[in-house]
């Protein structure tokens, strides 16, 4: 370690102002400060600073993602072996999952990282740690069968158009990981919807068990014909057990990181305890979703599609609802910034997600669209709350 530190120190001058490698300074500084915490001192007041920095803040999000990631990796293998009808051990499933998952993550970090570094060098600023989170969040929203070139194209779109064109981390309006996810969804719908993509089996070569369907519970629910009860359809599936508790645990087909509500809630707990994620947003997304689903149940009539009948608590454990509520909606940059705004923002995300799921069967995954939509509206929500603050002050002046 001393060797690395000494080497970094030895070459530092080349990257400083006037050094011959000056333009590569962002890359050097990123490597340097990720390895060793800076020992820089304050120059003026405040003379002491809080020990929390952006690196630790972002690392906390990554720690919170560990349960969902590990579960997701295991579930890739689990779904594969179940579909093939083979017996397997815990290690088998984890190993298979890793083989599928690692390339996706590596491509996401490498390609996204390339753009980050490029923009940092052009703009002459430091590389922002926010990408550490984007780079892992995005793969977790994908099916395990996603082609790697699509991962590369989508993360490029997410980082460049979702973030860098606005001026980089802190200035972006949309959540970059979700922007990338939306890009795949609309550009390559065949690889991210339907019922054939969620399980890592090769339909051409692999021989799957009889009755294999591969459809996600959400898809089953949204395919419920009018007049029938969605819950009957979901729990009555012959392939896989889609009971509420099973979906809560998460051994079901779906995007890599989204299936286990339990693992996601462990992450939520970490975010809330450390204060890194806004509990206001998480709570209000669940509240908004629950109430909207409840409302839809009331509106369900004989003419409406079966989705209307899906009970509220089922909605919360299906699809990307929980993952979005905990990890996507809480992105501090694209969310509302005021406390009151966070309540409105979160509630609207939950409500809109369920509304889209229910009334538009073409987009059963309403969560992604709901969050992106509210990302766009969050500055407006804040605007009205701040305007009210200004008006309070102005009304004092004229009294």
């Amino acid at each position: 370690m001393k060797l690395i530190e000494n080497n970094l120190e030895k070459h530092r001058y080349k990257f400083e102002k006037g050094g011959k490698l000056e333009k590569w300074a962002p890359l050097y500084r990123a490597a340097d400060t990720i390895m060793f915490w800076t020992s820089e001192r304050t120059k003026s007041a405040p003379h002491v600073r809080d020990a929390l920095d952006l690196k630790r803040f972002m690392m906390m999000v990554i720690v919170a993602l560990i349960p969902a990631t590990v579960f997701g990796i295991y579930n890739i293998g689990y779904q594969h072996y179940v579909a093939m009808g083979e017996s397997f051990s815990f290690i088998d499933a984890l190993g298979f999952g890793l083989v599928k998952f690692l390339p996706i993550v590596i491509v996401s970090y490498a390609v996204g990282g390339f753009w980050e570094v490029l923009f940092a060098i052009i703009r002459k600023h430091d590389i922002n740690e926010g990408f550490l989170v984007t780079g892992i969040l995005f793969p977790l929203t994908l099916p395990a069968t996603i082609p790697l070139w699509q991962v590369a194209v989508a993360i490029s779109f997410g980082v460049v158009l979702g973030k860098e064109v606005f001026g980089g981390t802190g200035m972006n309006i949309l959540n970059p990981a979700l922007t990338a996810r939306a890009f795949v969804f609309f550009a390559y719908p065949a690889r991210i919807s339907g019922d054939k993509v969620w399980t890592a089996v090769d339909m051409a070569k692999d021989k799957v068990v009889d009755g294999f369907s591969g459809a996600t519970p959400l898809l089953v629910a949204s395919n419920t014909p009018g007049g029938q009860s969605a819950i009957h359809n979901v729990t009555g599936t012959t392939y896989g057990d889609f009971s509420w508790i099973n979906m809560f645990y998460g051994l079901i087909p779906g995007s890599i990181g989204e299936t286990s509500t339990l693992a996601i809630l462990i992450g939520a707990l970490i975010l809330i305890i450390t204060g890194v994620g806004s509990w206001r947003i998480i709570v209000s997304v669940y509240a908004g979703g629950f109430l909207m689903a409840f409302l839809m149940n009331i509106f369900a009539g004989p003419q409406s599609t079966g989705m209307f009948t899906l009970p509220a608590h089922f909605h919360l454990v299906m699809g990307g609802f929980s993952f979005g509520a905990v990890f996507m909606a809480t992105d501090p940059v694209s969310a509302s910034q005021t406390y009151r705004g966070k309540w409105v923002y979160g509630f609207m995300i939950g409500a809109l997600a369920i509304l889209i799921r229910t009334v538009n069967p073409a987009y059963p995954e309403g969560m992604m669209l709901a969050i992106l939509f509210m990302n766009i509206f969050s500055p407006l929500i804040d605007h009205y709350i701040i305007k009210a603050n200004i008006n309070r002050r102005l009304s004092r002046a004229t009294q």
């Binding site: 370690m1 390895m35 003026s44 007041a45 809080d50 020990a51 630790r56 204060g275 004092r396 009294q399």
Partner: protein, 456 residues
């Protein structure tokens, strides 16, 4: 009278408080006045090196408002006029001849004062060098002698890290405090608001028994003791030319003393605090006394120290060769940050580092401990990644981050609407402290305030 219980705020968990023990120091051999600590003042010298001065002889005055004078705290000879870059005036040093010759402003008894007109009081304060104790919000600059303020605010509590306790040091001027209040009450047509700590057992009887004032009680973590926070809750500054004055309680006592003795009251009590010091306590001395008169090399613990005039959040850097300041009753000495860089230090459990956030184990397992804190920044400067924490350390109806963005955009109307006029650097110092993007909110706020002043 009102009680305010402020929920938001944060007491930095720094160790190194002073003991409640005052030692009276002998008259120092030299003293210095530091023009740079008076915000908005352009100093013009009234003396040259070698000139003889008495207690109360003007050393320099403000270029824009020449009636505001800054006077010698002791009698003797002007020993040095130290300038910095671009000939900026840094220090006017006086060699003390210990003769205690004074510039007498006329002897008077209490009865005479009661008959004095407002104009007379103002001109006495100006000529006697006591005026700089009276400051104005917004802008936190020395008050305009021609103005009549809406109200005058006195904060008899200090919640800043390791701060001196006004309830303790007021004892030194207890026989003058009420007299000082009586004089101040002639300067405004409004009220004098005296804010005290809500903790009864900590409150000084001198404040409790004050007459002719409106009393308020504040409870809460820092910055609950800041005068800006008190103004905001008692009667906030309104947009469009509204202003109030504020005076430190010890200075109120000094003003009382000044009118009784007829010449500049040079007393100062200063505490030495911070984990780099042994033998931490209070000292009675004179304004501008050298720091070395009460901090000796043998008092210092750490290899390398940061000397701060004032508290760790808002003070200015100084050194053992420096002098105590006009407004601050505190010298803090803390260790400089270690040069050693820890491997992935930002990802360690963090038992030894205090944090406002709950991302360090210390926040959970060592909730009530105090820590030795040094001058490390902990991280690099980044763009705002807002987390909504800033509001948690500012007990005012203000959105600090939104305000900062409006200052970056130099939108004056928006800044005023968002409450910039109610703020001073000291009020938002905690926002900088907790900021994970390591932004300096104070410098930005001052930039905004300067813009507004310039626009006029």
């Amino acid at each position: 009278m009102a009680e305010f219980n402020l929920k938001r705020g944060y007491d930095i968990r720094i160790s190194g408080e002073a003991e409640r023990d005052i030692e009276t120091l002998p008259s120092p051999k030299k003293v210095a006045l530091l023009p740079s600590e008076f915000p908005g003042i352009k100093p013009r010298l009234d003396v040259d090196e070698g000139d003889q001065v008495k207690v109360g002889t003007p050393l320099f005055h403000d270029k824009e408002r020449p009636e505001i004078k800054f006077v010698a705290p002791v009698s003797g000879k002007v020993a040095a006029i130290n300038r910095g870059e671009r000939r900026r005036l840094l220090e006017v040093v006086i060699e003390n001849d210990e003769q205690k010759n004074v510039e007498q402003n006329g002897n008077r008894d209490k009865k005479n004062i009661e008959k004095m007109s407002r104009e007379e009081i103002v001109s006495q304060l100006l000529n006697g060098g006591m005026w700089p104790h009276i400051r104005q919000r917004p802008f936190s600059k020395i008050a305009n002698p021609g103005d009549v303020p809406r109200d005058i605010f006195i904060s008899a509590m200090d919640t800043a890290p390791l701060a001196t306790d006004p309830n303790f040091i007021i004892e030194d001027v207890k026989e003058h405090f009420q007299f000082g209040l009586d004089i101040l009450s002639k300067l405004t047509d409004g009220k004098i608001h005296l804010s005290m700590t809500g903790k009864k057992e900590q409150r000084s009887a001198i404040f409790e028994q004050a007459e002719g004032v409106e009393k308020h009680y504040f409870t809460g973590n820092h910055p609950a003791g800041n005068v800006g926070v008190h103004i905001h809750h008692i009667d906030p500054i309104k947009i469009g030319g509204d202003f109030v004055w504020y005076v430190q309680p010890y200075a109120v006592g000094l003003i009382g003393k000044f009118f009784k003795q007829g010449y500049f009251a040079n007393d100062r009590i200063v505490a030495k605090v911070g984990s780099s010091l042994n033998n931490r306590k209070y000292y009675k001395t004179v304004v501008g006394a050298p720091i070395s008169t009460f901090i000796k090399e043998k008092d210092l613990n750490d290899e390398e120290q940061r000397f701060i005039l004032g508290d760790v959040l808002t003070g200015q850097k100084t050194s053992i060769k420096g002098y105590i300041s006009f407004y601050k009753h505190l010298v803090t000495v803390i260790p400089e940050g270690s040069e050693k860089r820890k491997l992935v230090g930002y990802f360690r459990p963090g038992m030894d580092l205090p944090s406002f956030s709950r991302t360090f184990l210390s926040s959970i397992l060592k909730k009530n401990d105090k820590f030795t804190m040094d001058t490390r920044i902990f991280g690099e400067h980044r763009a705002f990644v807002q987390t909504g924490s800033y509001e948690k350390v500012l007990p005012m109806d203000i959105y600090p981050a939104v305000l900062m963005k409006s200052i970056l955009a130099e939108d004056i109307e928006e800044m005023e609407g968002l409450g910039i006029l109610e703020l001073d650097e000291e009020d938002i110092a905690l926002c900088s402290y907790i900021d994970l993007s390591k932004t300096n909110f104070g410098a930005l706020l001052r930039h905004g305030l300067d813009l507004i002043e310039k626009e006029g």
